[in-house]
Symmetry: C2
Subunit: 358 residues, 2 copies
């Protein structure tokens, strides 16, 4: 691929904890139903999955929020559950109920049959999307590739969909931990292969979403989620020095484990809004960049209220980071929702840039 030099590398510099002119910002689920142009495209494509599986459409919606807001990164439009889908579990969506699998895996025998999918056949549509988006971005901002974490994938694979209490996978953790570790192990192999392939296709940063790590007790997190996140951080090949592709480990409810995550080998740690950024900065001691962490529900507040909360988060980070704003990527603590107002997003992005200008 022809390499267009990046016009805006703030996001990558912040992940290396290098000085930047102002704090970079992107928003989880920034390409989504809150945008009328997204709803138009979706109507035309028919469904979320049809959009994600068509590289041209995935590219179109990836770029939509960048046309509206001066965001500092693009994120591949895709789903966290593409890997189990490619493993044969068959992902589908029921309106209002979230993702489901037609063939959940619930015992050691089913788990033993799972294999790492081939990235350039079964998951070729993802790699093609990365390639098309990189071309169309033309160096405007970096492109983030991503995957679900081994534990989070396993939650959906065993439960067959979302869950209130994760009864099935927690029962497996207690009654057949060996089977669960086998599942987490093949998931980890697959995530490493998947992120490597996205990087080869052109992704300039990589994020792992450990959306459900926070449902585990500290002891169970240390057994069933953390070791696999650490293996990804250590084993994922991603270059050296300023050419290194940064890896961000995002986890809902990961506040208890920040010190360990900072030692995992990842370049960045993403946190939700249940921890003060200043405390997170103190506890990670400059070992990683931090990404976060406005409560997404703040976007239901007025633009003035949003600006106040943005300033509070920026200052909290700075206060915990020895007075420096370096090493911070601004984001929400979780994804956006369909009923949010694009004008409020504009206020958020504007305030991040204006208030954090060095």
């Amino acid at each position: 691929m022809a390499i267009t030099p990046l016009k805006n590398d703030r996001f990558l510099r912040a992940l290396r904890r290098e000085p930047v002119d102002h704090t970079p910002v992107w928003l989880m689920r920034q390409a989504g139903r809150y945008l009328p142009e997204y709803r138009e495209t979706r109507k035309r494509a028919g469904s979320f999955l049809a959009m994600a599986k068509n590289p041209e459409i995935a590219c179109e919606v990836t770029l939509q929020p960048l046309a509206r807001f001066p965001l500092d990164a693009a994120i591949l439009f895709s789903d966290i559950l593409t890997i189990p889908d490619a493993m044969g579990l068959e992902l589908y969506f029921v309106e209002g109920e979230g993702p489901k699998f037609r063939h959940p895996v619930r015992d050691a025998a089913a788990i033993a049959k799972l294999a790492v999918p081939d990235m350039e056949t079964e998951l070729r549509y993802v790699m093609d999307a990365v390639r098309v988006i990189r071309r169309e971005l033309d160096g405007k901002v970096p492109l983030i590739g991503f995957s679900g974490s081994p534990w989070t994938l396993a939650c959906y694979m065993v439960e067959g969909g979302g869950s209130k209490d994760y009864a099935r996978i927690k029962a497996m953790a207690h009654n057949d931990p060996k089977a669960l570790h086998a599942l987490l192990s093949v998931n980890t192999d697959a995530v490493i292969a998947y992120l490597s392939a996205q990087r080869a296709a052109g992704a300039q940063a990589l994020q792992v979403f450990d959306t459900w790590g926070g449902v585990l007790s500290p002891a169970m997190y240390r057994e069933f989620s953390l070791p696999y996140l650490t293996r990804i951080a250590r084993e994922l090949p991603r270059g050296e020095g300023s050419e290194r592709t940064p890896l961000i480990l995002f986890g809902k409810g990961n506040a208890t484990h920040l010190e360990t995550l900072a030692d995992s080998g990842a370049e960045g740690v993403g946190v939700d809004w249940l921890v003060e950024l200043g405390e997170a900065a103190r506890r990670t001691g400059g070992k990683v960049a931090l990404q976060g962490n406005l409560d997404p529900a703040t976007l239901y507040g007025s633009p003035d209220a949003i600006r106040t909360e943005v300033r509070r988060a920026l200052d909290s980070y700075r206060d915990g980071n020895n007075g420096s704003r370096d090493g911070h990527v601004f984001n929400l603590g979780h994804g956006m929702s369909p009923d949010m107002n694009p004008d409020h997003v504009a206020a958020l992005v504007d305030e991040v840039h204006a208030y954090s200008a060095r």
Copy 2:
């Protein structure tokens, strides 16, 4: 009321951090659908609310788990949302969807109309239930009365039911904090009057459920939940010395705030499974008793797995509490679910008593 001396005061002694022969145990939602006898009673009564509003039936189901398991406390069979129901919001239940209110309050005008209900008229059915249960318990174990916390009540009152993201109440917190504080203030007055009335009717311990405090950022928790919990702990009249009726502040996701909760004036703090009990004990430094904190999903494990986890929790507490098991009330970190196996509950209760015997 004729006072029958308590035959088992382990629970009350543990809340005073006094020595006991073994760690007391009760389980949130121990009277519930996982028991076939409960399902029988419910079929006869027609609905959950019909059961809660009939003192004889409320008494019957309160006592059911005590007939099966050697639990160390009974908890009033009721709902956390009785107060707003009595305020006129009209509580109802939709099968599979949880509690809802017919008349949610969504602005300052609606909030200004709310008043503390009269405890011996509008909430007489609760006080009658407490009186009947005390009589029927006949001193077997202490009876716990309870209420939702001001913030948790407000969540349901503003959202009109459960919520995924608490968009409405968080919008109110940002856009009209004065109105939200007015709501929290009348809720706090009502909770204090409600718990006082339950105590007068015979409740021997009181618990406040701050089920949704954990959806708030630390700054918002300190503004919208904590001050009201503290006001309850300080202002609720409950006697002195060994006659004092202990108050337990339970909160899902309250791990960030344990030090402050320990200073609130409450006798006990209940924690969920997202914090190690040992860490909670170290951080609260013997100022309060601790209640918790097995992940309820542990009950989906085998009896052997349950016993292992019970021992781990008991030892974690002891290790953080200078080698002593005193000051610990064993419980789950959240309520039980209908699909749990009563035999597994038996194993849990047995292991708590056997392993913690002094």
